[in-house]
Amino acid sequence: MRLKIFLSIILVLTLTGAALGQTGVKKKRPLPADFGRVVLNDHAAKAGLAPVVFDHWSHRSWFTCRVCHVDLTFGMKTGSTGVSAADNMKGFYCGACHNGKMSFQGRKVFESCAAKDPADGTKRCDRCHSLGKQVRRDYDFATYTARFPKERFGNGIDWEKAEDEGYIKPVDVLEGTSTPRKSLSIQKDFALGAKLAGMPDIIFSHKKHTVWNGCELCHPEIFAGVTKGTTKYSMVDIFEGRYCGACHTTVAFPLLDCQRCHTRPVQTGGGKGAQ
């Protein structure tokens, strides 16, 4: 009897188990305007407000990743920062710019988390604490990015090309907050051998990454191994949001686009050529 029950449980679990798992099904692909959206709820729900909806695309067209993630110390994972209204009001995190005083593109950047609603009668909090609400935004994705060079997946924008061609000019220094730095001594590109036979090798460009990230964003928090080859990781780790996946699952071009990284044709009959 017990054996039958045990086998029944196994049978039922097999049938239903994968329904709860992540593999075997196609994940919903967010629309270009929705890619990079994060919902921040460090303290919002506790304060009785809707969680904050932050779309990366607009900010990434104005600032490098480093300004927010290193100079302003925003975490790379949702929920890891712990931003509160008090922090913002004191000029930290969002409040470093969203203080009603900083000028940007000829306008004052609206104040986040201030004590009073603005004079025009709008509900100030809703502008960011907008999950589940219809909030009119200042910038519409389609209009704003209409002329940007396009790529597939993610936001559908080639952000790198957009900067090269002058459509965007991300700022790397926030006055009064950023540590003044000299320009970077460039690290060389190097090859990462693909483990799967037949997959093209990856050419990793340090330059492309450091232009927007500096060094501290990745080292050592995301990539702790100091010598190439010491940290072993696989695509499974990356799909789960570790290593390259820290950015390339949610904000940077998604992992669905294999050939953005796997670019080097496989060397036939020879070693995988390194640097």
């Binding site: 054996l3 039958k4 086998l7 329904a19 075997g24 099904v25 499974v236 669905l256």
Partner: protein, 290 residues
């Protein structure tokens, strides 16, 4: 095969468990086999997708999308990768304004893109004259008899068929009846072709079934890499992700396509081949049985 008698007398645990597993086999076979395609819908209804959540409040009837016509013209990759269509019902969340913007259906159905010698009709224009509202029924046709431009029987009359009566799309392409297009101008981003992996053996778990030879080439021709990887099959190392026929029958892994749009699971021998060749002769992996 549906009545599997249970023992009247409780005897030893071994006999019970054997009979229990016979019961499991009955379940498996009834899920996958039926009797010679008895459970399959008529060929013109196979692969039909109703777009929209069941029971959802609607202004127009739900959209009935027949896969058979589009798959004759386009690869799976074009719609499911380049256009971003999901692979489960209501997974995409297409709305009229998205179509009007040129996303999803609207990428082709814009009134301008030419197919053959005609412009493809526009889907979901933002403003429709009230008298032309019936144009919506061209797609929003669940529950409404609609005359279609292409009739299934006449379109597929000459196409090679499988045992089940469904079109054999692979043969249809081999024999030149169809030439699915893989690129949508203005939408597709063309990448250098990647060499698909070689065929390999997937060992069958059930002792009563032969092993499977999986052909990457056949799948990659229509799907590219991105339809399956990494969402459906994230494993880069064969054997990392384990799944069974139960999950496939539930519409996961292989079952995401097969039994819905691609050839149904009732055709066991299309995958479970009669005998697997020795490894090294064009396939990787060890046969579980000689």
């Amino acid at each position: 095969m549906n009545s599997c008698a249970k023992p009247r007398k409780r005897s030893d645990a071994m006999r019970r468990s054997v009979l229990y597993w016979i019961g499991a086999l009955c379940l498996c076979l009834s899920l996958t086999a039926g009797a010679e395609g008895k459970n399959l819908p008529p060929p013109q209804d196979y692969g039909v997708t109703i777009m929209g959540a069941p029971g959802e409040q609607r202004v127009l009837p739900a959209v009935r999308f027949d896969h058979w016509l589009h798959r004759a013209f386009y690869t799976c990759r074009l719609c499911h990768v380049d256009l971003g269509f999901a692979m489960t019902r209501n997974g995409t969340g297409v709305k009229a304004d998205m179509n009007a913007q040129g996303l999803y259906c609207g990428a082709c159905h814009d009134g301008q893109r030419v197919h053959g010698n005609r412009a493809i009709f526009a889907a979901c224009r933002t403003s429709i004259r009230p008298e032309a509202a019936a144009e919506c029924n061209r797609c929003h046709s669940v529950g409404i008899p609609v005359k279609r431009m292409y009739d299934y029987d006449s379109f597929t009359r000459k196409l090679p068929k499988q045992k089940t009566g469904l079109v054999d799309w692979e043969k249809a392409e081999e024999q030149g009846f169809i030439r699915p297009s893989d690129i949508l101008r203005g939408v597709s981003v063309v990448r250098p072709r990647m060499i698909p992996q070689g065929d390999f053996i997937i060992n069958s778990r059930g002792l009563w079934m032969t092993d499977i030879i999986f052909s990457h080439k056949k799948h990659a021709d229509w799907n590219g890499c991105e339809v399956c990887h990494p969402d459906i099959f994230p494993s880069v190392k064969k054997g990392t992700v384990r799944y069974s026929m139960f999950q496939i029958a539930e519409g996961e892994y292989c079952g995401l396509c097969h039994d819905r749009v691609a050839f149904p699971l009732v055709e066991c021998q299309k995958c479970h081949v009669k005998s697997t060749p020795h490894p090294g002769k064009g396939v990787e992996g060890a046969a579980s049985r000689p």
